[in-house]
């Protein structure tokens, strides 16, 4: 499928081409040529997120992600890294709730050789026995380092209560599991979850579509699919939890249910949260930081899983002002549902439109958006379509959405020296 649109961006007529192709094994390739750049970026999303960690083996997706990069085809661990460095790649590997992702940005001329290295990794990984201990140590280091990141710890605990298992798990798993992993565990996980039928390969930047499609087809045609059952979800906990900790600040995280990205109302919710938190004139920045000086950091954002959405807010402040900060934060979150105003919406639209146009300057940003669109919507949104949605947002449409979707329940987690009062907001 190819979509072509012309649009006016900053007084330039730009032709946007979006390509997608599904190979016989189910793998979907989505791509956007950006001929005005000298670079290209790609990302491979595999349906191997931490929600696939078996019970009792939490952190296995992360361990497999680490071990699979330690040798494949005719490369050992060192050659894998050195070949990618020689190609000047800026690469990443990460595990999220639904996917393990590998990606890189590089000079356009190095796109295909870089892709080859990653496809070799998926098709011919070694999972070398003599790298298992090092991979385990890396996973343990990540686990220990996360303990010192207090904001991350607070939000992780919030996710745990708000989503329940498995979506609220932490990617690092637990120490006992990590210490128990063997090569066989990683290989079994790989064979089950690194499969093409729910994988997405996204490419953006300077490349030729027919050549790219043929190249990927020839590289990955041997990749075979397997059947895997859906994940089983457990009920969330919700409510309030305080983690007692001797720290300079109290860290405050709040969540309430919202709609996922694929919901027809998503952009109404996104607009409302934008009024709350996008930009320096947004409500949270104004009321919590500018008018009261309660904190340095405060924000709220939309978070979307495939089937579920939520709004997550965070702030941190010194112990004696934590209660007031939480009160103002919760007050603003609930006041939002009384509606947004025209001036607020106009500013938000200006910011969102800027962001959409500026995305055209970054192949990595477009690559990420294409993959995300395909995962959530099974199609890609053109910039025209997104601009149309932004233009179509009105106070009436957002306020109607807010009136129809009052926050049913808040989940609150605080970390610091004193427990706070959450009162009427959390049952």
């Amino acid at each position: 499928m190819t979509v072509e649109k012309q649009f006016l961006g900053s007084e330039q007529i730009v032709t946007q081409q979006l390509h997608s192709h599904q190979f016989e094994n189910g793998l979907v390739l989505v791509a956007e040529p950006m001929d005005w750049l000298e670079s290209a970026a790609f990302a491979i999303l595999l349906p191997a997120g931490y929600t696939r960690d078996p019970d009792g083996k939490l952190g296995l997706a992360n361990f497999a992600c680490e071990l699979i990069q330690r040798g494949s085809a005719d490369r050992d661990n060192r050659q894998f890294v050195e070949d990618l460095d020689r190609l000047g790649t800026d690469r990443s590997a990460s595990v999220a709730a639904s996917h393990s992702s590998f990606g890189a940005a590089t000079l356009a001329e190095n796109l295909l050789p870089s892709l080859q290295i990653f496809t070799d990794m998926i098709l011919q990984p070694h999972f070398p026995e003599d790298e298992v201990e090092d991979a385990r140590q890396v996973c343990l280091q990540e686990l220990f380092a996360a303990e010192d990141e207090l904001a991350q710890r607070t939000i992780q605990r919030l996710r745990h209560r708000h989503y329940g298992s498995p979506y609220g798990r932490r990617v690092q798993g637990d120490e006992a599991s990590i210490r128990s992993f063997s090569r066989t565990d990683a290989v079994d996980f790989f064979r089950t979850h690194y499969r093409p039928d729910k994988a997405i390969l996204s490419v953006a930047g300077k490349f030729e579509w027919p050549k790219l499609k043929d190249h990927i087809g020839s590289l990955l045609s041997e990749w075979k699919s397997v059947e895997v059952p859906d994940v089983t979800e457990h009920s969330p906990i919700f409510g309030y939890e305080h983690i007692s900790f001797e720290s300079s600040q109290t860290h405050i995280a709040v969540a309430f249910p919202s709609v996922p990205y694929a919901d027809p109302n998503y952009f109404q919710a996104r607009g409302a949260v934008g009024v709350l938190s996008d930009g320096m004139s947004s409500r949270l920045f104004t009321e919590v930081r500018e008018n009261r000086g309660l904190c340095y950091t405060v924000y709220a954002s939309c978070h979307s899983l495939k089937q579920r959405g939520s709004v997550v807010a965070y702030s941190s402040t010194s112990t004696d002002r934590a209660q007031e900060t939480l009160d103002v934060l919760l007050h603003e979150l609930t006041r939002l549902f009384q509606g947004v105003e025209q001036g607020e919406l106009d500013r938000l639209k200006a910011r969102l439109k800027s962001s959409v146009v500026m995305q055209q300057e970054s192949c990595a940003a477009r690559c990420s958006s294409l993959a995300s669109d395909w995962y959530h919507l099974r199609r890609m949104m053109t910039m025209d379509e997104i601009k149309g949605i932004i233009d179509g947002l009105t106070c009436e449409s957002i306020n109607q959405y807010l009136a129809d979707h009052p926050p049913e329940r808040f989940t609150v987690v605080t970390l610091g020296e004193k427990q706070l009062e959450v009162g009427k907001y959390v049952s």
Binding site: G88, Q141, S248, R289, L294, Y296
Partner: protein, 346 residues
């Protein structure tokens, strides 16, 4: 394409024009930072950076924030040892408004009420970093290394020094440092340079010029060791500083490549020794170049029980470079990374 112009009062304007870009970025780069402070006003450069957004005779703080959003800007500011930078990225059609707004806030009112509220924000910012790894180790190491020299001052200042600051002290500092001759207006992207010059003449041409000197003699440095116990931390964090080339030293390029070979994020000697093996969560080495001074900073984080052995490994890696040098392959790999950074920016 590069363009430049200097106004009569000393304000420099430079631009890199790219007609293929979708956006335009503008910034005022002020040559002032924590190294231009005294202990009594430690943190004033950074506090002033916040206050610049708090309004002018023409605009309230709320006006500034509202207008930055109305033009859809992605804007921010930062302060370092040597400079304070204010910038906004906008679509091309908002060039005039963005420059008008940025130029206006460069002459801030510094009102008492705004000052008192913002002081609380600054103190929360200090507490925020207190809670984050490496828990102030970077600032403490700089302070040890430079002793009484201002390069050893924390950019944020301390809770005590910020609490003691007054609008008058900040005004004095502003009047000593924000001379047009000490400021550069920079534009980048799809910009109309002639309009930019005309605007700068109109909006900044009346700024009074004065001397804003900086002592750039190479400071004395000190070699010490300090252990700070933080019982709540899980990992141990090590920061080590040694002398390095200053900002105009021809050796700085060789030092940057050497630092990448030893301590880059990927494929470096530290990477293979510490990161790939999981012996440490992070190990890196990087150069910081100042006027008349330079440092190379090493950073290590790992489990406390592994720190001794890791420090010995760190010494061994450096010793091996000293005795055996580096390979051509290592130098080429660093150069390839630079090529990508340039290609991406085109």
């Amino acid at each position: 394409m590069f363009r430049e112009k200097k106004l009569a009062n000393g304000l420099e304007i430079i631009a890199e024009i790219n007609p293929n870009a979708y956006s335009a970025a503008f910034g005022f780069f002020v040559k002032t930072g924590s190294r231009d402070e005294t202990p009594e006003i430690a943190g004033v450069s950074h506090f002033l950076e916040h206050m610049v957004f708090k309004g002018t005779p023409k605009r309230s703080a709320a006006d500034v924030n509202r207008e930055l959003d109305e033009i859809g800007s992605h804007s921010n500011a930062y302060t370092s040892e040597e400079q304070t930078v204010y910038y906004a990225t906008v679509l091309q059609e908002y060039q005039d408004h963005a420059i008008d707004l940025l130029a206006d806030i460069m002459r801030p009112s510094l009102r008492q009420e705004d000052f008192d509220t913002e002081k609380k924000v600054i103190i929360e910012e200090i507490y925020k970093y207190d809670d984050q790894p490496p828990f102030g180790a970077h600032e403490k190491c700089m302070a040890k290394f430079y002793g009484d020299h201002a390069l050893g001052y924390s950019v944020l200042g301390s809770v005590e020094s910020v609490t003691g600051l007054t609008p008058e002290a900040m005004r004095n500092y502003f009047q000593q440092r924000y001379s047009p001759g000490n400021i550069t207006l920079v534009g980048c992207g799809q910009i109309d340079f002639d309009r930019m010059i005309a605007q700068a003449e109109e909006l900044c041409g009346g700024w009074q010029a004065f001397d804003a000197p900086r002592d750039i003699q190479r400071p004395a440095v000190h070699h010490e060791f300090e252990l700070i116990h933080k019982p709540t931390a899980t990992q141990e964090y090590v920061v080590q500083i040694c002398d390095g080339p200053e900002a105009t030293d021809p050796d700085r390029f060789a030092n940057r490549v050497l630092a990448a070979i030893i301590g880059d994020d990927s494929g470096s000697r530290f990477y293979w020794e510490f990161i790939d093996s999981g012996l440490a969560e992070y190990a890196g080495l990087g150069p910081y170049e100042f006027q008349g001074a330079g440092i190379t900073m090493t950073f290590l984080s790992c489990a406390p029980q592994d720190t001794d052995a890791n420090l010995q490994r760190l010494v061994d890696v450096i010793r091996k470079v000293e005795t055996d040098g580096v390979t051509q392959d290592e130098v080429d790999s660093g150069a390839e990374q630079d090529n990508f950074a340039i290609g991406e920016a085109k």
